[in-house]
């Protein structure tokens, strides 16, 4: 909640012209109303409104100003100074301490977990067409990519599987209950407004999550009306059209976006030394998103309605003599509706409510009967309805929240393509969660030159599922964290976290086969900690650094094991241990026109279960987990031109449990470059850009038997009407 308000006001401040600034409480990050602003000779004055906004148009650029309020210490500054920052922090009068620390601690407030924020500029959206490709190149997340624009892409972190990473779409969890994952290739970038990867759930995310939280937000809040339209075309026949409209006033914001994409996905790849074209990987998708946000007084409402339609081939694996191993087709229609409410009950109390309803219709046609067991067609509908209630308290130094959430879901037909069940039974699920989180800030405790924030949360989740018989599970999870900064180096925020998380088995894991009874499959459990720092230095136009060491110990990990009957069955068979280092550096130069960034991951994720003396999988790297991952990027952007170069490196990965070197995917480097220019014609801003993916024509695989495209080209045209 605090994050939202702060970000909201920062956005407002940035979007306004230099004639207004925002006044913020430096502890609570809330706007401060009725702050009296006067110039030194008291000839001109102004007062901040309920949003903390202050108009400066009546002051001259040379004026020196005094900000005063009964509850806050006076602040002395100048128009020139605040015109640059656009934000004024006021220190509550009852707080004594270093303003440097307080300001630094304010930064750490909304970034008390290790969080990666992906800046979504129009140029970035030109290059990366879906959330999966964007995250692969711009974050530390590991994206399992099955190839091409339409290939399934799932996100995982720190050596864990994708089911452990919670994906929130406008605050609603969208992990598929059947698989636990989200196909990020289905989420187009054109409609996304904000994208964060939060490595720890912290005290503000109530879902259990060992693999971090991916937050996706659509809908802009801007008073300026604009329309964006774009066309894309690629060398392997990908075509898309997108249209986005944003508008509003100070109380009402609305946006709507639509994207249609069609592709033969007939991209080139090399297999057994022969250049081939990918078959049965075509897709046809529509993504429609609409957002309305209304706020008045202490109430804020938001409605997000999203529709997704996908019709695609399921290309299958590529193996010797079997280049087109599937003729299966997939149809997916989904509606996701989310209603967000925020009500300020008093100066310190706030109530938030999120109601979401998601309905998905999935049809699999498989004429060869390879993916689908008994019949050649499977048809299922998955509905889930969720209500989340959150009561928040903020006194400035102490913030807490209490969450009660209930989710009910139903899958009408268990015989989806990943299930070996042949009777079309229905699964129902009811999940209830209570979570409480809090954080407490100490400025210079015991006269030490540090600012300290303690945070923590504890939750209890009860899940009741029914398929022929009932299955109940109760789980407790908890987290704690400390972040602090020192007066001598306020630019650096040191952080450490510990959490105990778990993951409930997915529908597929629990109900895949009614022959091998795994109804009682236990949840996976994880204990994890990390330690590191985030830093921001004023080097040239800004240098941001982040360095984290983490360790995760997992128990009862669910592994799919083929049986002698050729049916896979999941079992809680494995303990795992994952540790690693995550380094991120971003340097801005030349008045923020140039950005250099490097993201490096070292992941040592091992199987720690030795089932017997002949088990050669013990202490071996988990399959498909690279030891090293590196992304390096260069971007130049000015009013007219932009250029971007991105290099991705992934080290060797094994795909057998014993890390047999005969069965490994070799290391690869992929280089993408793009460039474009803007121009104005008839008062409209136009942009033309081109992207070359895999410039070096690298023949590589992320998943064995699912080839990645060789060099492909993309042409973009877009326009913006204001």
């Amino acid at each position: 909640m605090i994050v939202f308000y702060f970000s909201f006001f920062v956005c407002i401040a940035i979007n306004l012209n230099a004639q207004s600034v925002i006044v913020i409480d430096s502890i609570s990050a809330l706007p401060v109303e009725n702050v009296y602003i006067v110039n030194y000779d008291s000839s001109i004055s102004s007062v901040s409104d309920r949003y903390g906004k202050v108009e400066l148009s009546q002051f001259s650029l040379t004026d020196k100003l005094i900000f005063s309020h009964l509850s806050y210490s006076k602040k002395y500054t100048s128009v020139q100074e605040i015109a640059k920052t656009k934000i004024i922090y006021l220190l509550p009068a009852n707080i004594k301490g270093s303003e440097v620390l307080i300001t630094a601690n304010l930064e750490n407030r909304y970034n008390q977990t290790f969080t990666e924020e992906i800046k979504l500029t129009p140029e970035i959206k030109d290059i990366y067409l879906n959330a999966g490709d964007l995250l692969k190149n711009k974050t530390s997340l590991m994206i399992r990519d099955y190839g091409g624009f339409g290939g399934v892409k799932t996100a995982s972190a720190r050596g864990l599987t994708s089911e452990n990473t919670v994906v929130l779409f406008n605050e609603a969890r969208i992990n598929d209950l059947r698989t636990g994952m989200v196909d990020l290739s289905a989420i187009g970038t054109s409609g996304i407004n904000k994208l964060y990867f939060q490595k720890n759930a912290g005290d503000d995310v109530y879902y259990p999550s060992a693999g971090g939280v991916l937050k996706i937000y659509t809908g802009k809040e801007q008073v300026e009306e604009n329309i964006n339209a774009g066309i894309k075309y690629s060398s392997d026949k990908y075509r898309s059209v997108s249209l986005n409209y944003n508008g509003g006033n100070e109380e009402l914001f609305y946006s709507i976006g639509i994207e249609r994409a069609v592709s033969s996905n007939h991209f080139p790849f090399i297999f057994n030394g022969i250049k081939l074209k990918r078959e049965n990987a075509h897709f046809n998708k529509t993504f429609l998103s609409s957002d309305v946000k209304f706020k008045t007084g202490g109430i804020k409402l938001g409605l997000s309605v999203n529709y997704f339609h996908l019709q695609s081939g399921i290309p299958g694996f590529v193996v010797t003599n079997n280049y087109s191993s599937s003729r299966a087709q997939n149809f997916n229609n989904s509606f996701l509706t989310i209603l967000n409410s925020e009500i300020i009950l008093s100066g310190q109390w706030q109530y938030l409510n999120v109601i979401s309803f998601n309905t998905q219709n999935l049809i699999i046609n498989d004429p060869d009967g390879i993916l689908v067991f008994a019949d050649s067609k499977k048809d299922s509908r998955l509905n889930d309805f969720s209500v989340q209630n959150k009561l928040s308290f903020s006194s400035g130094v102490f913030n807490s929240n209490l969450v009660y959430s209930i989710t009910t879901a139903g899958l009408n037909n268990i015989t989806s393509f990943v299930s070996a069940n042949v009777s079309p039974s229905k699964i129902t699920s009811l999940s209830q969660t209570i979570f409480s989180g809090a954080n407490y800030t100490l400025i210079q405790p015991l006269n030490t030159p540090i600012a300290l924030r303690l945070s923590g949360g504890v939750g209890l989740q009860h899940v009741k599922e029914k398929l022929q018989r009932e299955n109940n599970s109760k789980n407790v999870y908890y987290r704690t964290g400390i972040s602090f900064s020192h007066e001598a180096i306020p630019q650096i925020i040191f952080k450490t976290h510990y959490s105990h998380e778990y993951r409930v088995p997915t529908f597929n894991e629990r109900y895949y086969s009614n022959l091998f009874n795994h109804y009682d499959l236990k949840q996976e459990e994880y204990n994890s900690y990390d330690v590191g720092f985030d830093a921001e230095f004023k080097l040239f136009d800004g240098l941001n650094l982040s360095a984290v060491y983490y360790k995760i110990m997992g128990k009862d990990k669910i592994i799919w094991i083929p049986t002698r009957l050729a049916i896979q069955t999941p079992r809680n068979i494995s303990d795992v241990e994952s540790q690693g280092i995550e380094l991120i550096a971003t340097q801005k130069l030349l008045n923020n026109k140039i950005e250099l960034n490097i993201i490096y991951n070292y992941t040592d994720a091992k199987n720690k279960t030795r089932l017997s003396s002949s088990d050669n999988g013990f202490d071996k790297q988990l399959i498909y987990t690279p030891l090293h991952k590196l992304n390096a990027g260069f971007t130049y952007t000015d009013e007219k031109y932009f250029v971007s170069v991105n290099a991705s490196f992934l080290s060797e990965r094994f795909y057998t449990a014993d890390n047999n070197p005969l069965y490994s995917l070799p290391a690869y480097i992929v280089l993408d470059i793009s460039g474009g220019f803007n121009f104005y014609l008839l008062g409209i801003k136009h942009r033309i850009s081109a992207v070359i993916y895999n410039l070096l024509d690298e023949n590589y695989f992320v998943i064995q038997s699912y080839p990645m495209p060789l060099r492909t080209y993309l042409l973009n045209y877009s326009m913006e009407i204001k």
């Binding site: 590529v318 193996v319 003599n321 079997n322 047999n660 480097i669």
Partner: protein, 349 residues
């Protein structure tokens, strides 16, 4: 540009490089031994062939890849039939039959069964003609082994697996993935289905007995555990099911051994069944002795010269497996490493 990038991250490459530099020993020209057809991991294109030489008492892994310039055998190699020093390997997910020279493991070519061909088990009529069950097309495919072409497709029951020939007939086990209980009978002269016999559910494995009878191992239903599984005896002359014996625990792979016995693998291990079906089956080799990871025996074969039983151990199905050798009393003689998921063991003499 690529070289510059590679230099920049050389340290990472060196750090990440952990390749095992050991080289598989070169296999000798084969004389007597056993071949292990390793399925590999589904859709990972890493099926392989292992050869164990009786004379040198040595095991040689990846002999196909080693003899053919590193070319992988394919995806999900299911079984192999041998005739005149040629091996015919059914490579399921690669939709092909790979023909190899068993003396030097060199490829003699492939028979492409087309999309969905899914070959499972092969029966060679002679050195020029063979029949293979095609799982997803519900057919038996007749092929020419010399010019490597498909001659005819014969429609049989649902999801055919095991196949064998006797008395001028082909007997095809139609598994139905657990839902079928029939054996199709094909007249070899006319290549036409002449009869369908009813046996237990999920017939998968067919063995020719030295007594002239056909033994069909029925694994049982995957959805109804009350349906009993067992072994059914067919008289190829009268084309009738003459007898049966129940065996629990999803029986599958089987072989005939000395003393008029069938050794049948189920979830408990290896059971011995008197081929007269006049006594209860008895456990000879517990599964835990073969495989102490997941207690699964994956394949079985019998060498009559040495009176040795060979059992395939897939371990946890995710890494290289083993083959364990036992005498007829169930005592372990030897054990050696093979490829991933040793699904079929073939004695070569």
């Amino acid at each position: 540009m690529k070289k510059i990038l590679l230099l920049l991250i050389t340290s990472l490459l060196l750090a990440s490089c952990s390749k095992d530099n050991s080289v598989e020993p070169t296999a000798p020209a084969t004389s007597k031994g056993i071949f292990i057809v390793n399925e590999g991991l589904f859709s990972q294109n890493n099926a392989s062939l292992t050869y164990y030489d009786f004379e040198t008492i040595s095991v040689y892994n990846n002999v196909y890849s080693g003899a053919n310039g590193g070319t992988p055998l394919g995806d999900n190699a299911n079984s192999m039939s041998v005739v005149n020093e040629k091996g015919f390997i059914a490579v399921d997910n690669s939709n092909k039959i790979e023909i190899i020279n068993l003396k030097n493991f060199k490829s003699l070519g492939q028979i492409d069964l087309g999309a969905g061909g899914s070959p499972r088990e092969i029966w060679m009529k002679d050195s020029t003609t063979g029949y293979v069950t095609s799982l997803y097309t519900n057919q038996v495919v007749k092929f020419n082994a010399i010019n490597k072409s498909v001659i005819k497709n014969i429609s049989v029951g649902d999801k055919p697996e095991g196949i064998t020939g006797a008395a001028g007939k082909l007997f095809v086990a139609n598994s139905g993935f657990g839902a079928s209980n029939s054996v199709s009978v094909i007249d070899i002269a006319s290549d036409a289905v002449i009869k369908s016999l009813t046996v237990g559910y999920n017939p998968r494995v067919i063995v020719n007995g030295n007594d002239g009878k056909i033994y069909v191992v029925c694994t049982g239903s995957y959805t109804d555990t009350t349906v009993l599984s067992g072994v059914y005896k067919i008289d190829p002359a009268s084309l009738t099911v003459t007898d049966s014996i129940k065996l629990r625990g999803f029986p599958g792979e089987a072989c005939e051994v000395k003393g008029n016995k069938l050794f049948v693998v189920n979830s408990e291990g290896v059971y011995s069944i008197n081929m007269n079906f006049d006594s209860a089956p008895s456990l000879v080799i517990p599964a835990s002795v073969v495989n102490n990871l997941t207690m699964v025996v994956y394949s079985i074969a019998y060498d009559k010269n040495s009176e040795t039983i060979y059992c395939g151990n897939p371990k946890d199905f995710l890494q290289n497996g083993e083959v364990a050798a036992f005498n007829l009393s169930g005592e372990e003689i030897n054990r050696f490493n093979v490829g991933i998921n040793p699904g079929s063991i073939v004695i070569f003499k």
